[in-house]
């Protein structure tokens, strides 16, 4: 489904600031696999997301989606296959447009956009049904400007917009990190529901270890641009934060010094 081979990315090459953001990453996600990615700041998680989404081109290496080599495709073309939710709740929606208009734009993600009306009666009904599943009452506010919604509501809408067209790959980039705990919990729950409902192949970056353990059926840990731990199945279910920290220490021979990661 998603196939990354020998991906390397270096920033500021041949300068004192040189940083190997990704080093020979090999990763394959099967259809329906839900992978959570953890690691401290600068481990390469966001770079990995950007390489998959196409907003960053790898120095070397190949990205394949559905056995199609998408490495040379620009971001907007790759978005045909990819749904994405950003960390910033403001990033995933257009604030001065209405809820139904935002959904109509998401609806057109994997189709060719034409000179025909974006929000038709039929589609409005469809959008209402989808909004219903969020249980936030947004289905009664189809004509409200998205800028009027709260951060949690906007993020829930972004999640819906990224998923209801059933993308081949779903990318979640710390999408609950900017929300308060109760909203974050709601979005986490919605994420689990929607991924299960559409059986989506998902890559989720998080700083919250508990969230990484609760969600998904596979977990990878990154450090200094490499994947240092990759567990799935029963082994993942038995994981705890304690074990993860110990594991990190065993592999790296040092403490995982990151407040957010430890506290989370």
């Amino acid at each position: 489904m998603l196939y990354l081979s020998d991906i390397s990315v270096t920033f500021n090459e041949d300068t004192p600031d040189e940083k190997k953001a990704l080093q020979d990453i090999n990763l394959t996600l099967e259809q329906g696999e839900f992978v959570t990615v953890i690691g401290s700041n600068g481990a390469g998680k966001s770079t990995l997301m950007n390489v998959v989404s196409g907003s960053l081109k790898p120095d070397i290496g190949t990205v394949k989606i559905n056995n199609k080599d998408v490495t040379p495709l620009p971001e907007f073309k790759r978005s045909n296959y990819i749904g994405r939710v950003f960390q910033d709740p403001m990033a995933g929606t257009a604030p001065s447009m209405t809820i139904e208009e935002n959904l109509a734009m998401a609806y057109a993600r994997n189709k060719k956009r034409r000179f025909r009306i974006g929000v038709t009666k039929k589609r409005r009904e469809l959008f209402r049904e989808y909004l219903n599943t969020l249980h936030l009452g947004l289905e009664d506010r189809l004509n409200a400007k998205v800028g009027m919604l709260s951060g949690g509501e906007r993020q829930a809408l972004s999640l819906l917009m990224a998923t209801f067209t059933e993308p081949n790959i779903l990318l979640l980039d710390e999408h609950t990190a900017a929300l308060d705990p109760s909203r974050a919990e709601l979005i986490t729950k919605l994420t689990g529901d929607v991924v299960e409902k559409f059986h989506l192949t998902t890559l989720m970056v998080t700083h919250n270890m508990q969230q990484a353990l609760d969600l998904g059926n596979r977990l990878i840990m990154m450090d200094k641009g490499q994947i240092i731990l990759d567990v799935s199945g029963e082994e993942k279910q038995d994981l705890t934060i304690e074990k993860l920290l110990q594991e990190f220490q065993r592999i790296r021979g040092e403490q995982l010094v990151n407040d957010r990661a430890v506290l989370g």
Binding site: A94, P95, A104, M105
Partner: protein, 328 residues
């Protein structure tokens, strides 16, 4: 007074099409596009040269709009493919167009159109048969207006063209492509993640915008009876004034309402300028200054009003609280 206001409304409706173009770039695409100063004259020049050389005025007007479309495309390409800052792309294109316009006009900075056919006198014979002029002027005379307009045809033709342009714009902004265009100005990162090619959208969007500006230029030239190479100077400010005044006075809740507000804003702007020029110590040369002051006023006033309102609201709350405390 009536006569000069009649002229103001007449040219206001023609300039409204230019204002709609500015609305598309400035508001919808969030792209302050200075190409307008050049593309307005491009439209006028192309139409004039075509008409002088015997092309039908309607085809000439369409060709003018196409020329403006291309000019906007080039600004868009400079910005997206050349990665040049939006303001600078517009300034560069505007500067280049000055020379290009002179070339189109065959090296002469002024082309008269006085005895040439135009889209307005094209319909004149048919118009005279309807007798609307006599009827409306009769009405005016009966209510005591002494100097009546020569013909109403320009206003009627322009209302029809402007309404058509408005309806097309409204429809366009609601299509799938139109939604993506609006999102490009609203949240570019987001619409790119929804598989829209924002570069193409900007290039096409600026094309539409400048196409309307050039269309307006072509119609103004035919109404005025001449093209002047320098007539585009300050056009962007007039466009901005119309958009901002219109939005402030008539609201911008929906697209349909905003485009109407922009058209009315263009007419109000013309009327205000005409009224201002009636003041004794102001001269025609002060028009640009008046435009600039109008834009500043339209930008600042709504914010001042909102601040004062908010202060009053808080004051009222505090007084209420004090009164309650006293009561208790």
């Amino acid at each position: 007074m009536f006569f000069s206001m009649f002229g103001a409304v007449e040219s206001g409706i023609i300039f409204a099409i230019m204002a709609l173009g500015v609305y598309l770039s400035f508001r919808v695409l969030d792209f302050p596009d200075l190409t307008v100063d050049g593309s307005f004259v491009t439209g006028a020049a192309v139409a004039a040269m075509c008409i002088v050389n015997g092309v039908s005025p309607i085809i000439a007007t369409v060709l003018a709009a196409v020329a403006g479309f291309v000019a906007g495309n080039i600004t868009g390409i400079l910005n997206t493919k050349g990665k040049i800052n939006p303001l600078l792309s517009g300034i560069l294109m505007m500067t280049a167009l000055y020379s290009i316009n002179l070339r189109i006009m065959g090296g002469s900075p002024n082309i008269p159109l006085l005895n040439e056919p135009t889209v307005f006198n094209f319909l004149e014979t048919a118009w005279e048969k309807t007798g609307i002029d006599q009827f409306l002027n009769g009405l005016l005379t009966s209510i005591g207006v002494e100097v009546v307009p020569g013909t109403w045809i320009v206003i009627f033709v322009m209302i029809i063209i402007t309404v058509i342009v408005k309806l097309i714009t409204d429809y366009y902004l609601k299509t799938e492509i139109g939604l993506a265009l609006r999102a490009t100005g609203d949240n570019e990162k987001m619409i790119r993640s929804l598989s829209a090619n924002t570069d193409t959208l900007k290039i096409v969007g600026l094309g539409f915008s400048n196409g309307l500006v050039a269309l307006s230029g072509a119609l103004i030239a035919q109404n005025d009876g001449f093209v002047d190479l320098k007539s585009g100077i300050g056009m962007i400010v007039i466009g901005l004034a119309s958009v901002i005044i219109g939005e402030a006075l008539f609201g911008k809740k929906t697209i349909v309402r905003t485009t109407l507000a922009v058209i009315l804003g263009a007419i109000v702007y013309r009327m205000v300028v005409t009224a201002a020029l009636k003041v004794d110590f102001l001269e025609t040369g002060d028009m640009k200054l008046i435009s600039a002051i109008l834009v500043v006023a339209a930008l600042v006033t709504p914010k001042v009003i909102a601040t004062v309102r908010e202060q009053k609201r808080r004051q009222r709350k505090r007084i209420d609280l004090n009164n309650k405390a006293k009561g208790a």
